[in-house]
């Protein structure tokens, strides 16, 4: 029983990091019905820059880079919209391209070594379960970000404008909503969220040049688990994937268990075809 509890707690705390990357994916999907597949790469670069620069300046630089990269993606999105090419599948391809470029930039500039730093010397023991204090910090920051994002999206006039723009761009424009400005703002906020996730990850499990695509895939799985409905669901999806992964790794054996989160996501996609239905002709 204690073993089960330990796996579940460790899994949930690992899942917090997935949830943190899933949060911006859910935010952008809620806002524009598109998937930003570069989000894991923004997180990876932001975290590595934060650690390599160091201190508060490093964290600020990481956050700024995350926001800047996502703003660049917003510019690409706008160009695709102007050329009437902003089909979801084209946008996801373009964001994959940006992610690929960022991963390559990490390899070129920082090499193949992993970047990781432990902020706490010793682990806490709560109910005989060993817990890394950094995971608790991640959980608290994650909950604050979820509350801020959900509150901003569902309980402010700006949030209403975002949702109006997502539902009907033309209607929103006719109602005087500055749709383009809102889109840039949301992408920048998405990048900021991804960068926070990256900074927390580099102080928890670490990052390297291969982390970007892996993070995106796991986070996308987390985001669709409860149907890409909103920030809280995406975050909870991350926790659930983390718990499943920890339980399977704990009680299963062999490297094949690492495929289970992907099988899980594939099954959900096939079983619930309405998920990510944007772009269906």
């Amino acid at each position: 029983m204690r073993e089960l509890l330990e796996y579940a707690v460790q899994g949930a705390l690992l899942g917090v990091t997935y949830g943190l990357v899933a949060l911006p994916i859910g935010l952008i999907y809620s806002s524009f019905r598109v998937i930003d597949a570069g989000v894991g790469s923004y997180a990876a670069l932001a975290g590595i820059v934060a650690l390599s620069v160091g201190g508060i300046a490093g964290i600020a630089a990481g956050l700024a880079i995350g926001a800047a990269l996502a703003t660049l993606v917003a510019l690409i999105y706008q160009l695709l919209v102007r050329r009437e090419m902003a089909e979801p599948v084209i946008v996801v391809t373009a964001t994959f391209a940006v992610g690929m470029a960022v991963d390559s930039l990490i390899l070129w500039r920082y090499g193949t070594d992993p970047f990781v730093k432990q902020t706490f010397d010793s682990a806490w023991s709560i109910a005989d379960v060993s817990i890394n204090p950094q995971s608790i910090v991640n959980l608290l920051i994650g909950l604050v970000l979820v509350a801020l994002t959900a509150g901003g999206l569902f309980h402010t006039s700006t949030g209403r404008q975002v949702r109006a723009s997502a539902d009907n761009v033309l209607g929103a424009l006719l109602a005087g909503i500055p749709v383009v400005r809102i889109q840039y703002m949301m992408f920048a906020f998405e990048g900021l969220l991804a960068a926070v996730a990256g900074v927390l990850l580099v102080y928890t499990t670490g990052l390297d040049f291969t982390s970007g695509l892996h993070l995106t895939l796991i986070a996308f799985g987390a985001a669709i688990l409860f149907g890409l409905r909103g920030p809280l669901q995406c975050f909870l999806g991350g926790l659930a994937i983390g718990v499943v992964e920890a339980l399977v790794a704990g009680y299963g054996s062999g490297g094949l268990v690492s495929a289970l989160p992907f099988v899980f996501v594939l099954v959900i996609l096939v079983a619930s075809p309405r998920i990510a239905e944007a772009g269906r002709p």
């Binding site: 998937i35 690409i76 160009l79 695709l80 050329r83 090419m85 089909e87 979801p88 599948v89 084209i90 996801v92 391809t93 373009a94 994959f96 391209a97 940006v98 992610g99 690929m100 470029a101 960022v102 991963d103 390559s104 930039l105 390899l107 070129w108 695509l213 895939l217 996308f220 799985g221 062999g254 490297g255 094949l256 690492s258 495929a259 992907f262 099988v263 996501v265 594939l266 996609l269 096939v270 075809p273 998920i275 990510a276 239905e277 944007a278 772009g279 269906r280 002709p281």
Partner: protein
């Protein structure tokens, strides 16, 4: 005359293959590059058929090539089969996996389908990495026997490009056939296709399975040319690179995937590995934004400017358009 015009991409390609084979017959490194271009062209053509023709974007094509490559590698090194028997298995196993999978996947939106194939690619990678003695794990399988018909690089050049030319002929036929028009209707207006009584899920799944078979053929060539295959050889990043080749070349043109494969494989040979992803990523974004019809689209547009405009016969004026537009024209 119409048949000749329809096969003009294959004939042009055949001419280039023969001439380049004669010119570079003494250059091992050029022939190596040429063979890799042919192998990637097959994978890119498979994406061209499923995405350019049927609208199904797959991010898992390299995994089907890996399945084909591993199938022939296991059969030839562990079961003692000949490479030709391995060819049959390599071409048949990927469609046998792809068809039932596609029956489930084609119900999804284009976005969900693309992401599902990406996850499929990751799963295949993990299975190959953890397949123990059967797949050789991270180390892969070495000592794969070469093909007796193509023991020299020049012979392999002609074999690989022969496969590409045949594929281009089949693709050109598909585009102008009733099946191709039905696929186009499914791409443009699925409701109309359903109203016409077309069995869309079967047709799309069969197209997906055919494209998986092409990837299996590419995997067979890859395994027997390099005589070694590992999980990283044909990974998810290869799938993304192949998609990039198709978009850069022009997904709606028969030769677009081949042109994209040639451009990016040559770039791959001449640029440092660390910056490849950076350049690939930037190239993909630029092409998507500036030239969504790819290099072939730009070339067609430029050629169109030099053609006389007034009193052109209807057929000539149509020839500027991508072939798919010709086929759906009344």
């Amino acid at each position: 005359m119409n048949e000749l015009r329809r096969q003009s991409p294959a004939l042009s390609l055949l001419l280039i293959v023969v001439v380049s084979g004669a010119i570079f017959s003494g250059s091992r490194s050029t022939l190596d590059t040429s063979i890799l271009i042919a192998i990637f062209s097959l994978m890119a053509l498979s994406v061209g058929i499923s995405f350019g023709q049927a609208g199904m974007m797959s991010l898992g094509q390299a995994s089907f090539a890996a399945i084909g490559a591993y199938t022939t590698s296991i059969l030839t090194t562990q079961a003692g089969w000949s490479p030709y028997a391995g060819l049959v298995a390599a071409v048949l196993v990927p469609p046998l996996i792809a068809y039932p999978l596609a029956r489930l996947l084609v119900r999804l939106s284009h976005l969900a389908l693309a992401l599902a194939t990406l996850f499929l690619g990751e799963i295949v990678m993990i299975v190959l990495n953890n397949g123990g003695d059967l797949t050789g794990g991270y180390l892969g399988i070495g000592g794969i026997p070469p093909i007796s018909l193509a023991t020299t690089p020049l012979a392999f050049h002609f074999l690989a490009w022969g496969c590409v030319v045949v594929t281009v002929v089949l693709y050109s036929n598909l585009k102008s056939s009733a099946a191709g028009r039905a696929l186009n209707t499914l791409r443009q207006d699925p409701l109309r296709a359903q109203a016409d009584g077309d069995d869309g899920p079967h047709r799309l799944s069969a197209t997906f399975a055919f494209s998986a078979g092409l990837c299996g053929l590419a995997g067979w060539l890859y395994a027997h040319y390099l005589t070694y295959v590992a999980p990283e050889s044909l990974s998810v990043s290869t799938s993304i690179s192949v998609l990039l080749m198709v978009i850069v070349g022009g997904s709606r043109y028969v030769l677009g995937p081949v042109v994209g494969a040639a451009l990016l494989t040559v770039l791959n040979d001449h640029l440092p590995a660390e910056v490849l992803g950076l350049l690939y990523g930037l190239a993909l974004v630029i092409v998507l934004v500036v030239a969504p019809r790819g290099v072939m689209g730009v070339a067609a547009q430029l050629l169109g400017r030099f053609r006389p405009h007034p009193r052109r016969p209807v057929e000539d004026s149509l020839s500027d358009r991508p072939t798919h537009e010709l086929e759906i024209a009344p």
